[in-house]
């Protein structure tokens, strides 16, 4: 109490102190308030624009709406690549009352095998925003979907969502020609327009799917949504519909493709068929094929390794990338080159003693018939596939002319307009040899090229294309796979089409065709057995390609080794001769010397195309053209 009395003794003094301090406090309060006001003015006036933008960006999110991929049809309107809805099981955690109970119910309902249940449960517990559907299972069966639908009311938060997945109904036969889509990988992502591909998971990896990716993909749409901080969509602010990808109609006839595939089934090889007048690729088969559907969702490692290590190389597109010695199938082109260059005339005769000798050289270049064909003119040389005639022709032409003229038929270049992954083949020249081996060109090598051996390598696609040019009497059309893109037809006259081959005397074509017809129909023709019973005029040329070495360092067993050292059988042909509807090249690996193996396949293709598929007449009437029909009567 004593102290308290003391304070009361001098109340005026204490009050004075308080007032001074209180005034100071008010001053400080005002200063601090000024600081706040300053800060608020800075934020709300000076920086207002910056923060407005930031706040706008904060709440508005742009969600991509992926376009549906264009469908692919064959020339008859048959679907060869479609989008199959698959159904995924998703779970929105937020709406599930009891996760364990729901999972147990689902497992019982879907009758999941024990080994899948654990994985299923692990997936359900993955960290995810509670309002976003988590993927539990993909590709539900119809039975599962039905079971889920019936029990829907008992399963809040469980949803079945549809997703479109590429599906190839004719996967094996079309795999190489059509290609396939797969998940976009990191490398591809770098080259893609991020806006357009934001919602897209698949991209064309090979073939048509790859080449026409832009058209097939379409344009992504977008949805502007307002979200909260956790990303939950609150409402839609704007919407742009996606532009679906264009449908593609292929030049391929799936029946012909199927036929080509079946003809080669059990072998390794390729068949390419082209409509010469338009360049439409009717069939382009590489056998063995593979199931491209496996690649869509991502092939498992074991299956992929099996495909890769398969001795038959099913993943290798023989039709477009396979390089084979042309063998004697090069002879019609050599003949045309000689006629154009004027080093031979159709009537000129070469004497064949069974071999050919270069001037001042002892070495003999042998005909395939040891004792020789004797006197041989152009047509006979083609019909019997005389080597001596073409050694002589090659020597007279020289490698430079050969290179030029064979090149004008498309050898050594990528001929097709829209085929992804074409090989170049190999059309040798002096320059090429110098660059490759640092050696000059030897005359003997010219002779080898003259009969389609040596350095010369062709792809089945090149051979078919060159055959088409030949059938067209030198008129080039670029082979192509797209008939219509969306509603627009692809024109036959594509840019970068090589100039037509000019021949001084048009009858030269007829003489070469005549020689080629004799291959099938002539008494001495190498494929005369195949030509028996032809209902139209067909021109062709057989070939045998020697297998010099084994590719890869694979271990073959003895019988396999022998089989794989056998020659490749080739055949090129077109028909009908006066009005060519189809040009075809066939290669059957290790079929042995007999060119008949390949010739019969070519015949089957032309028969099918001319007599069945390319026929506009009503059923029951003869499909044969007027002249052919008269001839056969």
């Amino acid at each position: 109490m004593r102290e308290r009395r003391e304070t009361l003794k001098n109340p005026e003094h204490a009050l004075r102190i308080f007032r001074v301090r209180a005034s100071l406090a008010v001053l400080v309060v005002l200063l601090l308030s000024g600081l706040l006001v300053g800060r608020l003015c800075y934020l709300q006036i000076v920086q207002h624009e910056v923060y407005s933008t930031r706040s706008e960006n904060n709440r508005v999110r742009v969600e991509p709406l992926p376009p549906t991929r264009g469908l692919i049809y064959d020339r008859n309107g048959k679907l060869v690549a479609e989008n199959r809805p698959t159904y995924n099981l998703t779970l929105v955690r937020e709406r599930v009352d009891d996760l364990d109970e729901t999972l147990t119910m689902l497992v019982n309902l879907l009758e999941l095998p024990a080994e899948e249940v654990d994985e299923f449960k692990v997936r359900s517990r993955q960290r995810q925003r509670p309002f976003q559907p988590a993927l539990l299972m993909s590709d539900l069966t119809e039975w599962q979907i039905a079971r889920l639908a019936v029990n829907r009311h008992r399963l809040p938060g469980v949803e079945v969502q549809a997703q479109l997945l590429r599906y190839y109904p004719h996967a094996d036969i079309m795999a190489h020609a059509l290609g396939y889509v797969g998940r976009i990988n990191a490398e591809e992502l770098q080259d893609l327009d991020p806006g357009n591909y934001a919602g897209t998971h698949f991209i064309g990896k090979t073939g048509v799917e790859y080449f026409y990716e832009n058209q097939l993909h379409g344009r992504a749409g977008l949805r502007k949504v307002e979200t909260n901080a956790r990303g939950r969509v609150l409402r839609e602010l704007g919407h742009t519909d996606p532009e679906p990808g264009k449908d593609l109609t292929l030049t391929i006839d799936s029946d012909m493709q199927q036929l080509a595939y079946d003809l080669l089934d059990g072998r390794r090889g390729a068949i390419v068929a082209i409509a010469p007048q338009t360049g439409e690729i009717i069939a382009m088969a590489s056998v063995p094929g593979f199931d491209s559907n496996q690649f869509v969702t991502g092939i498992d490692v074991a299956s992929y390794r099996a495909l890769q290590e398969d001795i038959d190389l099913p993943l290798f597109n023989r039709a477009t990338r396979g390089s084979y010695p042309a063998g004697s199938t090069i002879k019609p082109f050599m003949a045309m080159s000689g006629l154009i260059e004027g080093v031979i005339t159709p009537e000129e005769v070469v004497y064949d003693p069974g071999y050919y000798q270069l001037p001042n050289d002892d070495r003999r270049y042998r005909n395939w018939l040891r004792w020789g064909h004797g006197r041989v003119d152009l047509e006979r040389a083609l019909a019997v596939s005389n080597n001596t005639y073409f050694y002589s022709l090659a020597h007279d032409l020289g490698i430079d002319n050969i290179h030029e003229h064979l090149g004008s038929f498309g050898f050594g270049t990528r001929v097709a307009a829209d085929v992804a992954g074409q090989g170049d083949g190999l059309l040798p020249s002096r320059e090429w040899k110098r660059a490759r081996f640092e050696q000059s060109w030897y005359p003997g090598e010219t002779l080898s090229v003259g009969i389609g051996q040596g350095y010369l390598q062709v792809t089945p696609l090149q051979l078919a294309s060159a055959t088409a040019v030949l059938a067209n009497r030198g008129h080039h059309v670029r082979p192509r796979l797209a008939l219509d893109i969306g509603d627009e037809a692809v024109p036959a006259d594509l840019p970068n089409t090589p100039p037509d081959i000019e021949v001084g005397n048009e009858s030269y074509w007829d003489r070469v065709f005549s020689g080629m017809e004799k291959v099938l129909s002539g008494r001495e023709g190498t494929a005369r057995r195949t030509g028996a019973g032809l209902k139209y005029r067909m021109a062709g040329k057989s070939g045998t390609a020697q297998v010099f070495s084994l590719g890869q360092n694979q271990k073959y067993n003895a019988s396999e080794l022998r089989e794989r050292l056998r020659d490749h059988a080739l055949f090129m042909a077109f028909a009908p001769v006066d009005n060519p509807q189809i040009a075809v090249s066939v290669i059957v690996e290790n079929a042995g010397g007999g060119s008949t193996h390949a010739a019969s396949l070519a015949r089957a293709m032309t028969d099918a195309w001319i007599l069945e598929h390319n026929c506009d007449l009503p059923q029951g009437e003869s499909c044969l053209g007027g002249k052919d029909a008269e001839d056969s009567q």
Binding site: E3, F18, R21, A22, L32, R39, L40, I45, L234
Partner: protein
């Protein structure tokens, strides 16, 4: 008295007491409250409820709960206003001791339980935060202690003050509750400052505090350090602690001068703002009502502080004056720290915006403070001259 009050409220004539002094008493004087201050507080509360309605995502449930708390707080204020300053002074020591006891209890129970524990709970009955009570008990104790001695306080008295403040603050900081320990310290320090602490000593303390900063840093919890670091560079941790500051400055900045309108703040309505109805509610205010709204609220706060200081100044005893002044300055510190941290000029510490942020305890404490202030003011004539 209650009968008289009810009578006056119903408009019935109240029986006038005979005393001449008593006859001049208004109803406010009978209630021992200051009508101006109460009016401003009611205005603030109403505006606060409006902001809360928006900040809570239009939850009428929350607004009603808050309104009920305001009601309770008003009753507490009214009750406290009835005490005379001398009885308040008598209660200072017991209140302080009980508070300390509960803080120790929290400490012990907190050790038994897990992690931070700020609450004492009588299960099913009440959950109580003793540190909140200390916001009033400590300045009361310090004011009582100082006013027992000659002013300005001597060294001996100041050492006593340091102990009286230090013990509870250390306990609160250990909970850990940086915001409350800061406010408790501030309240007590204001009392000392108002008591006439010598400037030389103030300089000494400031220097000492500066020297003690590294020590404070060492004793801080990691998350507290993180808050300071984040404050210095919010962009360094945009998804973590910096998120709050980035989002709240964005909200305020995007509000501009006029604001986006009530219930139309995108930052707040779309839940970008964290703790938008508690500590960060001022960002909602800034976004929806703009600079104009912020200035209006700030002005209201300043008027309340000014009125409060005037009331404190008019108190007739030193204890009341110091306590009242300390309470008012602390009230301002609430406002300053809260707006400062939400607008990004102060580190984030858990300090609510008075009578606007959602939460019961702080409203009750604040209103209790106003009750004490009014008691100090209104009871002056009852003091013996």
């Amino acid at each position: 008295m209650i009968r008289d009050l009810l009578g006056s409220l119903r408009g019935y004539p109240v029986k006038q007491p005979e005393s001449g002094i008593s006859r001049r008493k208004t109803i406010w004087q009978r209630l021992h409250i200051d009508p101006w201050l109460v009016a401003m507080l009611l205005l603030l509360m109403s505006a606060g409820l409006m902001v809360l309605y928006s900040a809570s995502g239009e939850s009428s449930h929350m607004v009603i709960a808050q309104a009920v708390r305001f009601g309770v707080a008003l009753v507490v204020m009214l009750v406290l206003a009835q005490f005379s300053p001398s009885s308040l002074m008598r209660w200072a020591l017991p209140a302080y001791l009980v508070g300390m006891l509960m803080l120790v209890a929290v400490e012990v129970l907190g050790d038994i339980g897990m992690g931070a524990q700020r609450w004492l709970e009588i299960p099913g009955l009440v959950r109580f935060q003793p540190s909140e009570m200390m916001k009033l008990a400590v300045p009361m104790m310090v004011a009582a202690w100082i006013s027992r001695h000659e002013l300005p306080p001597s060294w001996k008295v100041l050492v006593g003050c340091a102990l009286l403040i230090g013990l509870p603050v250390v306990l609160i900081a250990r909970q850990p509750d940086l915001g409350t320990s800061l406010l408790v310290t501030a309240a007590a320090v204001f009392v000392i400052l108002l008591a006439g602490l010598s400037w030389r000593f103030i300089g000494f303390i400031v220097a000492l505090a500066g020297a003690a900063l590294p020590l404070l840093w060492i004793n801080m919890h990691n998350y507290q350090r993180q808050r300071v670091l984040t404050f210095l560079d919010p962009e360094s941790d945009p998804l973590g602690a910096g998120w709050n500051i980035i989002q709240s400055t964005t909200a305020i900045g995007s509000g501009g001068i006029w604001g986006k309108g009530w219930l139309h703040g995108t930052q707040s309505q779309l839940e970008f703002l964290p703790e938008r109805h508690t500590d960060f509610i001022v960002a909602v205010l800034g976004e929806e009502f703009g600079l104009i709204g912020m200035l209006a609220f700030l002005a209201l706060y300043l008027l309340i502080v000014a009125r409060g200081l005037w009331l404190a100044g008019s108190a007739q005893d030193t204890f009341g004056r110091l306590l009242g002044g300390g309470i008012m300055l602390t009230f301002f510190i609430y406002v300053f720290v809260n707006i400062g941290m939400v607008s990004g000029i102060l580190p984030v510490v858990g300090v609510p915006l008075p009578l606007v942020s959602y939460g019961g305890t702080s409203s009750v404490t604040l209103m209790a403070g106003f009750g004490i202030l009014m008691a100090v003011h209104a009871h002056r004539r009852l003091l013996p001259r």
